[in-house]
């Protein structure tokens, strides 16, 4: 995973709340077996509307998504994160994220920052005043700056550290291999086993 320190990019204001994962990527796109190439699937149903904000040339190449509360609710599909990442988004800011989405994002280098409702409105107003404006997101400082506006965002220490370091989860866990084996030796006989097939 690539290290994330700071990022500067065009802000896409998505003025909707409860953007669920079926909107981020409709199920029909989940049939692919690759982990990349999902950029065309992002908001696919909404993008069929020529007026949808992502279709507006001003926001071409946007990389910071600023959305209403409850972003990423619904299914566990990590494809939602892949679609955002493949399209070019590096950061999503929202007053509230669904748990599974947020966990998935942290594993793919996508920063999810929680901002206050007032800051959300302020960012949207700043973009309305200057469409195509760029924002600088500093993960070390947990701040986002657009024009004269500077807002703080929340992200937990552990996820932030992993993003800053670009650490691979599995390698990290396997440092505890011995403890996992010790735990396995203690597991009771009644616990389920899928094989042998009775």
């Amino acid at each position: 995973m690539e290290k994330f320190t700071t990022h500067t990019g065009v802000v896409l204001p998505l003025k909707r709340s409860a953007v669920d994962t079926d909107q981020i990527i409709p199920a029909v796109y989940l049939k692919r077996v690759t982990k990349t190439g999902f950029e065309d699937a992002l908001f696919a149903n909404w993008r069929q509307d020529p007026d949808f904000i992502l279709n507006q040339p001003t926001y071409a190449g946007a990389s910071v998504l600023v959305a209403g509360p409850d972003f990423g609710t619904g299914s566990s599909r990590e494809h939602a994160v892949w679609a955002l990442r493949d399209y070019g988004f590096r950061v999503v800011l929202s007053p509230k994220f669904a748990d599974i989405f947020r966990g998935n994002a942290g594993k793919q280098g996508l920063v999810t920052g929680v901002i206050g409702e007032a800051d959300l409105e302020a960012i949207w107003a700043a973009v309305d005043a200057d469409p195509g404006a760029r924002m600088t997101v500093d993960l070390q400082e947990r701040t986002a700056v657009i024009g004269d506006l500077r807002v703080a965002f929340d992200i937990d220490d552990y996820t932030r550290w992993r993003l800053l370091e670009g650490l691979d989860d599995i390698g990290f866990t396997l440092r505890n291999e011995e403890k996992i084996s010790q735990f396995e030796a203690r597991r009771e006989a009644w616990r389920p086993r899928t094989i042998p097939v009775p």
Binding site: R16, S17, A18, D20, D22, Q23, P26, A27, V28, L30, K31, R32, V33, T34, K35, N45, G68, P69, D70, T73, G74, S75, S76, R77, E78, H79, V81, K96, A98, D99, I100, G103, N104, K107, Q108, D156, D157, Y158, D169, I170, F172, T173, L174, N176, K179, I180, F183, E184, R186, R187, E188, A189, W190, R191, P192, R193, T194, I195, V197, P198
Partner: protein
């Protein structure tokens, strides 16, 4: 099993967590939690197996892993090659991965194939006091047994395949107490839809919900699974019900349930799992079962629901500005006018199926209402069993005949029209009463409109062609019944 059990009353969720602690996280790091059972399906696993291959890692515990094909599988012509090329590729990829890594797989046509959350419990693999994960948010279903069960993303699927553990921060706990007796015609689905309407689609965020109280105790395992299944629709990571004699009776004798001395050991442990007297929850919610009525959603998220006897709400009814905007948008998408009685809303289709409501008891409930009746003209009715075994069971009871006599289509097992990854989809503008779990825009097919309901309401709706509860149906004569 854990070495450091806190000396204070604990909740069910805390006990299961503590007993799976491999490493206690220090200084803001997550705990490392052992996973007892990993369920795999074709949609969220291909990239995880690719990851293992790239790093030369094996599946650590093949004996704790099981795969089935469900999301893409057709429910007709299952003996023919899958017509949709991408669906076929995804299923063939799972078959190739399962063969290469040695994972037990139940493929289309196999008698144990079916929706992953129906297969685990019916095999007796899902049991109290275990941890269960799957790359599917409705893994919360398995919490009905007193297991800690939750959905994970594909990176986590790879992580569990490689290490049989997950780094996790402890969840908060919320008690949802439902006391009283459900009226006839009111079922588990109505309870969970009422809970979601009450706490909202994010009310459970960060929590494990523990469902308790006399109304929950009185439910069958199928009913408890329906409730835990939709915990995720309240934003919760998991839902749980404390194990009791209903749980043990359901499990005993199933193919993978413990036997002999192991059974006795297991039951002795399982009886220690219910939350201790005085255990403290981070939040508590109460519901009066006596007052619940059949429920239906009118909008595009599962929290936008009301009693079936009510009317479509107006955006102005919502104080919260976000909710007001969402309601406005939902009414437009659903093509509904505020103030319309829900029982006057006509439907084009009825879908009886999904991991929420496709078990044998669900099919029996649906059949009990439609028996001796004929479906409304012009309404398409699809009955999709949750697993090949449920299908066989239903046929052994003659339920298939009840469905086909009624005019319904009796299909093969899979996720089907819950999310329309296979050909079972709504056409744009079509309206469906569905026993599934999500009424998001386009969920059942682009432009499709979904009303979430119980099997009983779905059945009555199929008879009348408009949203209806069983009590709205004319009484059958003795000859008809």
């Amino acid at each position: 099993m854990s070495t450091a059990i806190p000396d204070r009353p604990r909740t069910l969720a805390e006990k299961v967590w503590d007993d799976h602690l491999v490493v206690k996280g220090e200084g803001g790091e997550p705990d490392l939690i052992y996973i007892d059972l990993h369920l795999v399906h074709e949609v969220t696993s291909p990239q995880a197996f690719d990851g293992l291959r790239a790093e030369g890692r094996p599946v650590r515990r093949l004996d704790l892993t099981i795969a089935t094909e469900d999301h893409n599988t057709p429910t007709l012509d299952i003996d023919k090659p899958i017509a949709d090329l991408t669906s076929r590729t995804q299923i063939e990829t799972l078959r190739r991965n399962a063969a290469e890594f040695g994972v037990r797989l139940h493929s289309l046509g196999d008698k144990e194939q079916g929706i992953v959350h129906v297969v685990g419990p019916q095999l007796g693999l899902t049991m109290p006091g275990i941890t269960v994960v799957c790359g599917d948010s409705h893994t919360s279903t398995h919490g009905a047994f007193g297991a800690m069960a939750f959905g994970i993303g594909t990176s986590e699927v790879e992580h569990v395949l490689a290490t049989q553990t997950l780094p996790l921060k402890p969840f908060k706990t919320m008690a949802i107490t439902v006391e009283g007796t459900l009226k006839p015609g009111v079922s588990a689905k109505d309870v969970i839809l009422a809970v979601i309407a009450k706490i909202g689609t994010n009310g459970g965020q960060g929590y494990v919900l523990e469902f308790r109280g006399s109304a929950i105790r009185a439910l069958s395992m199928e009913g408890r699974m329906t409730i835990c299944n939709m915990s995720i629709e309240a934003g919760a990571r998991a839902g749980m019900v404390a194990p009791d004699d209903t749980t043990f009776a359901y499990l005993k004798g199933r193919p993978h349930a413990p036997a002999g001395a192991d059974w006795d050991d297991a039951v002795a442990y399982w009886r220690t799992l219910p939350s201790d007297e005085g255990a403290v929850y981070d939040a508590e919610v109460f519901l009066d079962a006596d007052e619940l009525e059949p429920f239906v959603t009118w909008g595009t998220n599962p929290g936008q629901g009301v009693s079936l006897s009510g009317v479509v709400p107006a955006p102005e009814d919502f104080a919260d500005p976000n909710e007001r905007v969402a309601a406005q948008r939902a009414l437009e998408y659903m093509d509904l006018v505020a103030g319309t009685p829900l029982k006057e809303v006509p439907v084009d289709a009825v879908f009886m199926g999904s991991c929420t409501n496709s078990r044998i008891e669900d099919l029996r409930q649906f059949a009990s209402i439609i028996r001796g009746r004929t479906k409304a003209d012009g309404v398409r009715v699809m009955v999709v069993p949750g697993s090949a075994r449920v299908r066989l069971e239903a046929e052994a009871e003659g339920l298939d005949k009840v469905f086909t006599d009624f005019g319904a289509e009796w299909r093969f097992a899979g996720c089907s029209m819950c999310l329309g990854m296979n050909p079972d989809q709504l056409a744009p503008g079509e309206r469906c009463a569905s026993t599934s779990n999500r009424n998001f825009e386009g969920r059942q097919g682009k432009g499709g409109r979904t009303h979430l309901v119980s099997p009983l309401v779905a059945a009555a709706t199929a008879v009348l062609g408009r949203l209806a509860s069983p009590s709205d149906l004319p009484v059958l004569t003795a000859a008809e019944a």
